[in-house]
């Protein structure tokens, strides 16, 4: 990664982060430092709190306690340098192209530059054919691609991806993984979740493992997949962590 592409808003430090809603503590004292550089993949069973953690980091939710600090040089306006792809894509009531164009216009890009960029994004995600379709009639997979295109279009320094390929066909999954790789190479920090362990292995430099709102393990990817320290994590990568079978006590 070249000096010029250094990530200006990182590192991101989260400290003793807790989140509560509906009278439950859903994120429990999570502490981690996201440095510039590696690709982070957050793993964990359904309902572990992965999506909540991403939304907390991205500033969409207010923590009940704890700190979220962007410590980079350009950290006075961190929101401008982030983007996120949601697990359940939200399409604005306009065409596919206009959805991307809208995101760009929010960053103050001028009309001509936007047009070029929109076309480039549509091409990279294979949506050119659908440019003028209303976004909300797209198939689920197409919507996921569009959400990625829209997030990526604004050239964020940090990109949060919440299961970006869950509904993509195998070829598209590979293509999008390549895209993610390219984005990473261009200096954008990737923080993502996935349930596809193969994908996690292919992409991750660093793995965070969450379970019931807690961050149980954070290790380099190789170490994690070879010999996870946490018992649950081990069960998880063997596809055996059926956590509803387990009494709460086993978490202690």
């Amino acid at each position: 990664m070249s000096e010029a592409l250094q990530n200006e808003i990182l590192p991101l430090e989260i400290e003793e982060l807790t989140f509560e809603a509906g009278g439950k503590r859903l994120i429990k004292e999570v502490t981690h430092k996201f440095r510039a550089g590696p690709r982070t993949v957050i793993l964990g069973p359904n309902g572990a709190g992965k999506s909540l953690l991403l939304r907390l980091c991205h500033g969409l939710l207010k923590p009940a306690s704890g700190k979220i600090r962007w410590c980079g040089a350009a950290a006075d306006d961190p929101a401008r340098h982030q983007a996120m792809v949601f697990q359940r894509p939200v399409m604005l009531r306009r065409t596919v192209a206009a959805n991307i164009d809208y995101a760009l216009s929010l960053r103050g890009m001028d009309r001509d530059a936007r047009k070029v960029r929109v076309e480039k994004m549509l091409e990279s995600t294979g949506l050119s054919r659908l440019a003028n379709s209303p976004a909300r009639v797209l198939s689920f997979g197409e919507q996921q691609k569009l959400a990625l295109a829209r997030a990526w279009a604004v050239k964020p320094r940090v990109l949060f991806l919440d299961e970006p390929t869950a509904s993509l066909d195998p070829a598209a999954t590979h293509a999008i993984e390549d895209v993610i790789d390219a984005i990473h190479k261009a200096g954008t920090r990737i923080i993502m979740t996935t349930h596809d362990l193969g994908q996690a292995r292919r992409i991750a430099d660093e793995v965070l493992f969450m379970h019931r709102g807690r961050l149980l393990e954070s290790s380099p990817a190789d170490a994690f997949f070879e010999r996870p320290e946490d018992e649950q994590a081990r069960a998880f990568i063997h596809g055996e962590l059926l956590w509803w079978d387990q009494p709460e006590t086993r978490l202690q």
Binding site: R55, L60, A83, F86, V90, R93, L106, V137, R150
Partner: protein, 234 residues
């Protein structure tokens, strides 16, 4: 019952005669109520959207007040505007009392809360879906408002039509601030009230039918516009 049939005859012959007075009254009615709706939409929609979006202290109070003001009594509004525009009032020098401008002004006060309260509800429902996505894209509050109003425009149309319904049917406020002066501030609703007080019920009903037909025509056009828009933008 033959009141109804004679009303029908009255309505038809009114329309068929192409009466110049009636045309003048219809034109003024449309001018006043459409003008009021236009201005009230420009004020009420952003107001409603802002109340839906911003988390300011006292927001819930504002919501309740907007809802309650949907029930502003027209006579009271007319009276307040009268006092403001009266020669003795603070804006007396403008000489606006008993002019169409005063009527528009009173109606704007009446329907801003209706459009604002209904818009708030519609925008709030849409906001639940858009909230995180728009904030993630980096839309500031103003931009969020604009986006929600635009994306919700087909639903919001109903709020505007509710405002138009109130404006076009309203008689209490325009009667007081307009004075129902022949050829100057006489509109459909004040004419109807006049005919009722003359005991000319058939004519009153006939004018009422004409007013309802007008309202149907406007609502029909709005609906067609919306349908063609929906087809294009899904």
């Amino acid at each position: 019952m033959n009141d109804f049939s004679s009303a029908f005859t009255a309505a038809l012959s009114l329309l068929a005669s192409g009466d110049a007075d009636l045309a003048e009254i219809i034109a003024l009615s449309l001018q006043v109520s459409l003008g009021a709706v236009f201005i009230a939409t420009c004020i009420g929609m952003p107001l409603g959207a802002a109340t839906a979006l911003y988390k300011f202290p006292g927001r819930r109070t504002v919501v309740v007040i907007l809802n309650a003001l949907m029930g502003l009594p027209p006579v009271v509004v007319g009276l307040i505007v009268y006092l403001l525009l009266s020669r003795m009032g603070p804006f007396g020098v403008l000489g606006l009392l008993f002019t169409p401008t005063a009527m528009v002004f009173a109606q704007v006060i009446l329907i801003v809360p209706i459009i604002a309260a209904l818009s708030r509800q519609i925008v709030e429902d849409l906001w639940r879906e858009y909230d995180e996505q728009l904030r993630s894209l980096g839309a500031g509050p103003l931009r969020c408002m604009a986006t929600l109003l635009w994306d919700g425009r087909f639903s919001l149309l109903t709020a505007v039509l509710a405002g138009f319904g109130r404006a076009s049917a309203e008689v209490g406020a325009v009667m007081i601030v307009g004075g129902n002066i022949d050829h100057v501030t006489r509109v459909m609703t004040t004419s109807i009230a006049l005919e009722v007080s003359k005991g000319n019920l058939a004519m009153a009903l006939g004018l009422g039918m004409v007013l309802i037909v007008l309202s149907l025509a406007i609502n029909g056009s709005a609906f067609l516009l919306k349908e063609s828009g929906l087809r294009k933008h899904a």
